[in-house]
Every structure is written in structure tokens, then in C-alpha cells.
């Protein structure tokens, strides 16, 4: 699958107009011969299939080439930035899960219509609140409060928390909507009635029985949310100045750095794929019925 992903991206990047050297070509002080020689140095004059073959074989050895704009190895750059994004993403995930768990448990435990209504409202608003809107307002708020942009760019814990909170908002919609629905449904199942009849306290019923049944669809969502977090990091990191994979993608595109774009695409797809696989394994561990059935992990 990664091969297919990389082939699509490679084909796209090589298909139409311009590469990292096209800016050089417009510079009147750089002669046509220089550009051609540079193309030979970087191997841009060879046919597409050959270039892709070279790229794949290097990739298999863990070498993703050299970034044209950063002048360092793509692999090192991408992984160090991925680490930053993962830090942010995990924090965002923790926020989203924390909020969702708290609210959905409060909803089934207290069983008040007003809580259900507010959860529906929160899901609607968080689902409709684009990250770019939220990120810009967060920026405006910080600048308004502190009077400078330094408060955001210094990489402090507060800055990280702010970025993670912004990143988490659409994920809250994803988790809260699902968790609330599943938990409500589980509370009406026969096994919950049985657990109550057994004399367990309501807290135990919810924590040990209902939540376990509600967990599996959530693990699917967990897999999905990884893509959302990595993709969403593009805007959040650019606006709030967090040095992660998203910000790297933008600078790679703006500087037409094809090896770097390729590296970002492959690594982010691999990260999403890995996340989905982990989610599937966790599902099997949680639900014994799945162990015997065939799962393509």
C-alpha cells in the first residue's frame, strides 16, 4: 500500500510544470547551461520510471534523499518533525478523550436531558469549528493578552497546550458524538440490566460493563483521528508556529522541495497506517469474539 501511495505522489510531483530549479531558471543571471548541469547533478533529467526506481531502492535502505531547501537528509528532518507533531497530537488526543469520557459518563450517570442536549450542541459546534478559524482566534487572543507573538513561538508548555487544544477540537466532536451514543445504547442492553440485577453499583455497571462494550467503535475512531491529527497539524502548526510535520509540509511545498514533499507524504501515510493497525490490534484484545475471526492487521 505504501508503494501505491508513494507512486501516486511521485507521479503527481513529477508530472506537471516546474521543479525546485524553475525559480533559478527565471533568474537572468543564471545561464541555461548551469540549470541543465544542476538538473544532471540532481538526476532530474532522467526518465520518471528510473527516478522512481532509484527513489524506492534508496527508500528501502531508509534513505529518503537530501532536501533541496534545507540541505540536510530528508529522513532525519521528517522524523524529528514527526516527533514534535506526535507530542502535540498525543496531547490533543488526551484532551479530546478526557473531555469526551467526562461528559459521556456524566451523561449516563446523571441521566439529565440538559446534559444530553449540551453534548449534542458541543458536538455540532466542535464539528463545525474549522481549525483555521480556531487557530487564528487563539493567536489573536494570545497576542491580545500578551501583546507579542513571542509568547507563542518560544515553545513553552503553555504554547504547546494552546496548540494541542486547538488541534483537539474537531477530534472532540469525533469522540464525544461516538462515545456518548455508544454508551447510551449500551446502557439499554440486557447485560447491563443483568449487571444491575446482580447488585453492582451504578458506577461499577458503567465502568466495568457498559464502557467495555462502548470501547470498540471508539478504537476505530481512534485510528481515524490519527489522520485527522496529522492533517490538521498543517494549519495549526503554521498559524501557531509549532515546528512539526505540518509546518514542514508547507515549507516543502512553498520551496518546491520534491524529495521533502515525498518524505512527508510517505511518513505521514505510514504513521496513519500504523495508528490504524494498532487500533485494530487493541480492538481484538478488547473483544474476544474478534480473536477467532479473520482480521487483516
Amino acid at each position: 500500500m505504501l508503494i501505491a501511495v508513494s507512486a501516486v505522489a511521485f507521479g503527481l510531483l513529477s508530472s506537471a510544470g516546474g521543479d525546485a530549479l524553475s525559480a533559478l531558471r527565471e533568474n537572468p543571471q543564471v545561464s541555461e547551461e548551469t540549470v541543465e548541469r544542476l538538473r544532471q547533478v540532481y538526476g532530474l533529467d532522467r526518465p520518471l520510471a528510473v527516478r522512481y526506481g532509484t527513489w524506492v531502492s534508496a527508500m528501502a535502505r531508509g534513505d529518503m534523499g537530501e532536501s533541496l531547501s534545507f540541505r540536510t537528509s530528508v529522513a532525519g528532518l521528517v522524523f524529528s518533525r514527526l516527533l514534535n507533531t506526535l507530542k502535540l497530537g498525543l496531547l490533543a488526543l488526551a484532551i479530546a478523550i478526557g473531555v469526551s469520557v467526562l461528559l459521556s459518563f456524566a451523561s449516563v450517570r446523571l441521566n439529565k436531558a440538559i446534559i444530553d442536549r449540551s453534548i449534542d450542541l458541543i458536538v455540532l459546534v466542535t464539528a463545525s469549528m474549522p481549525r483555521i478559524v480556531l487557530a487564528l482566534f487563539a493567536l489573536a487572543l494570545t497576542v491580545g493578552l500578551s501583546g507579542s507573538v513571542a509568547a507563542i513561538n518560544n515553545g513553552s508548555a503553555a504554547a504547546m497546550l494552546l496548540a494541542a487544544a486547538v488541534l483537539s477540537v474537531p477530534v472532540i466532536a469525533l469522540f464525544l458524538g461516538q462515545m456518548h451514543g455508544e454508551l447510551r445504547q449500551a446502557m439499554n442492553e440486557p447485560f447491563v440490566r443483568y449487571a444491575r440485577a446482580k447488585g453492582l453499583s451504578e458506577n461499577e455497571v458503567i465502568l466495568r460493563h457498559a464502557s467495555r462494550a462502548a470501547l470498540n467503535p471508539l478504537l476505530t475512531i481512534f485510528g481515524l483521528s490519527l489522520g485527522a491529527l496529522i492533517g490538521g497539524s498543517v494549519i495549526v502548526e503554521t498559524v501557531l508556529g509549532w515546528p512539526g510535520l505540518g509546518a514542514l509540509t508547507v515549507s516543502a511545498v512553498l520551496s518546491r522541495d520534491a524529495p521533502l514533499v515525498m518524505g512527508v507524504v510517505v511518513v505521514s501515510s505510514a504513521a496513519v497506517w500504523l495508528g490504524n493497525s494498532i487500533a485494530e490490534v487493541l480492538q481484538v484484545l478488547n473483544d474476544r469474539r474478534l480473536r477467532d475471526s479473520e482480521i487483516d492487521v
Partner: protein, 361 residues
């Protein structure tokens, strides 16, 4: 649904949905009449009003008497450093509806000079009325916002429609053919879906020249949306077709000797249509936000043409952002309103079933 239940539902959700529908209609009116509603040309600059706050519209004259027609005062720059403006309260300039203004093309065809509202009197000496203030180049922000909304709401539905068309055709053929073609097509669709959508869109954008004139940028955006958006639609269509082709009415159609193509397009497709239309509408906010993201990053629609994204790029000016946050971010508010209205009217089922990636949101 029984009558009572229907009434109950209407009571419960009617008002909100009605409001959402009204918002959508408002956006639709802007799409059709952007230039007419805009008081000024979206490129015309005023050197005397740079980063100006909104004009304050008065009803009470300096002597305390009440004016039936709202008016504004001439303003002058009091402090260039902090960009403070003060009003010169000697002469009033009344506002009027259907005023004579800069000429524009109604429906993009008919040249007219009438605009919805503006300051009456000769355009040369009268001050301009700025509902949302001006940007750093002295252009009326409201006019730019209206034109930007029009651009986004033309490009994104076109992109969504094209993506749906490609996705539906591919999905139908794949689902109906089965076996090897199905495996190849769905493998391709899955690899597309495995990539975070915004990163995929950016990678596709990187393949083309970074700076483009507006019409070509619009075309490119539509093509990129179609190229990157078809996969989810194809997957959905394929699933529907595969379940529908086992139904009795397909067997019946086949038994009376209809061709496969006819069965596919006249019998299977209409039954899949409602789900597909909903999915298509859900795509709309995703594409809108992708367009905003691209333009914000400077690789979508570029200055001087206004788009929701490149207007938001003004927020990169931190001092200005601290001074007028809501004015600078008014495009963001418009985006939020539109997305919210769409979501109220078309509930996103993918939130419950696990659907397409949603990172652009």
C-alpha cells in the same frame, strides 16, 4: 411519521434548521449578487483610509436633532503610528440605498453603476462608508469579503460535484464489475484515503506552478479537489452497488432482458442516489476549508483577487491582529457560519460511522 410526531420534531428542530436554511440562502444571494451588494470595487484603494476601523453610522446630528437618514462624517488620520482616525463633524454625508457607485458587471454580464448602498453624492469628494473597515492597502473589507465568498462558493461546489461524478462512476463500475478490476480500483482508493487529505492536496498542489492567475487557480483547485476527493465517494458507491445488485428488482430487470448499462444507471443508481447526495453535501465544507487553507498558505487564489483564505493571511500582521481581531478575522466568522449551517442541515453521519478523513476541519 405521524402528524403529531412531525409537529413535535418541527417544534424541536424547526427553528434551528430554519435559521440554518436562511444562512445558506443568504450565502446563495451573495454568490449571485456579490458585486451589487458590495459598496465598492474590491480592488479600488483609498490612500486616506488604510487599516481604518468601520465607519460609525450616526442618526443624531451634532445639535442633538434626529436624522431620518443615517449619515457618516468625513474622517482623518489623527495618529499615523497607531492608525487612529477621528471624525470631522462639520459636514454630514447621508447614506442611501441603490446609490450610484463604481461600475460593475451584474451577474458577470451587464455593466451597471447602481450598488445596493453607499454614500450619496459625488464619489470623488464624499468619504467612503466602510462597514467592516479597510485592509492594509485601503480596500473595503466588506466588498472583498463578499467577492471572496462568491469565489469559494463557486469553486467548492464545482470541485465537490466533479469529485462526486468521478467517484460515483468509478465506484459503480468497480462494484458492478467485481473481481480483479474491483480489487485494483479499491486498492487505489484505499491508498488515497490512507494519506491525510490536506497533505495529499498540498502535495498535489506542489506539482503545479506556485503563482497562477485567478481563473487558472480556480480551475486547478477544482481539478485537485476532484483528484483527491473521488476515493471516499467511490468506496461508498461501490458498497451501495454491491448490496443493491443482489436485490430482487435487479434480478427482475435482468429477467426482462435489459442491458447491464441500463440496469446500472436506471435501476441501481436511483436507489443509491439519496445516500450519495448526502455524502456529496458533506464534502462541501471539507473542500471549502481546503481552499481556505491553500489560499491562506499562499498557494490557492492569490492577491489581488480576494479569497477567504488569503484575506485571513492578513492576520499574520500581529500588531494589526491585536488591534482589530474581529475585523481581520471576519472571513473566519463567515466560514464558521457556513460550515455550521451546512452541518445543521446535513448531519455528518461519518461522525458516527467512521467516514472520510476530516483533518481540514
Amino acid at each position: 411519521m405521524t402528524g403529531d410526531a412531525a409537529k413535535g420534531t418541527l417544534r424541536k428542530f424547526g427553528a434551528v434548521r430554519l435559521l440554518a436554511a436562511a444562512v445558506i440562502v443568504l450565502f446563495a444571494i451573495v454568490v449571485v449578487l456579490a458585486d451589487f451588494i458590495a459598496p465598492y470595487d474590491h480592488t479600488s484603494q483609498s490612500r486616506h483610509a488604510v487599516s481604518a476601523p468601520p465607519s460609525s453610522i450616526h442618526f443624531r446630528r451634532t445639535d442633538g436633532s434626529f436624522a431620518l437618514r443615517p449619515f457618516i462624517y468625513q474622517r482623518r488620520l489623527a495618529d499615523p503610528l497607531t492608525q487612529k482616525y477621528e471624525e470631522i463633524e462639520t459636514k454630514q454625508y447621508p447614506l442611501e440605498l441603490f446609490t450610484e457607485g463604481e461600475s460593475h458587471l451584474l451577474f458577470g454580464l451587464i455593466p451597471v453603476r447602481t450598488r445596493l448602498f453607499g454614500v450619496s453624492g459625488l464619489a470623488q469628494e464624499a468619504p467612503r462608508v466602510y462597514i467592516l473597515g479597510t485592509d492594509a492597502l485601503g480596500r473595503d473589507r466588506l466588498s472583498r469579503l463578499l467577492v471572496a465568498v462568491r469565489f469559494s462558493l463557486i469553486v467548492c461546489p464545482l470541485g465537490a460535484a466533479l469529485a462526486c461524478l468521478i467517484g460515483v462512476v468509478i465506484g459503480m463500475l468497480s462494484g458492478y464489475a467485481g473481481r480483479l478490476p474491483d480489487m485494483i480500483v479499491m486498492g487505489a482508493a484505499d491508498s488515497m484515503l490512507a494519506m491525510p487529505a490536506l497533505i495529499l492536496i498540498l502535495a498535489a498542489r506542489a506539482a503545479f506552478p506556485l503563482e497562477l492567475p485567478p481563473t487558472r487557480a480556480a480551475l486547478l483547485l477544482i481539478i485537485i479537489f476532484a483528484l483527491t476527493g473521488w476515493a471516499g465517494m467511490a468506496r461508498l458507491t461501490r458498497g451501495l452497488v454491491r448490496s443493491l445488485r443482489e436485490k430482487e428488482f435487479v434480478l427482475a430487470a435482468r429477467s426482462i432482458g435489459l442491458t447491464e448499462a441500463r440496469i446500472l444507471f436506471r435501476h441501481v443508481l436511483p436507489n443509491a442516489a439519496p445516500v450519495l447526495v448526502t455524502q456529496g453535501l458533506i464534502l462541501l465544507p471539507y473542500f471549502l476549508l481546503s481552499e481556505v487553507a491553500l489560499s491562506y498558505l499562499g498557494v490557492g487564489l492569490q492577491e489581488p483577487a480576494p479569497s477567504l483564505g488569503n484575506m485571513l493571511a492578513a492576520a499574520n500582521d500581529i500588531t494589526q491582529l491585536a488591534r482589530q481581531p474581529f475585523l481581520l478575522l471576519s472571513p473566519a466568522i463567515a466560514i464558521f457560519l457556513f460550515v455550521l449551517a451546512v452541518r445543521v442541515l446535513v448531519p455528518d453521519t461519518s461522525l458516527r460511522q467512521g467516514g472520510p478523513n476530516d483533518e481540514a476541519r
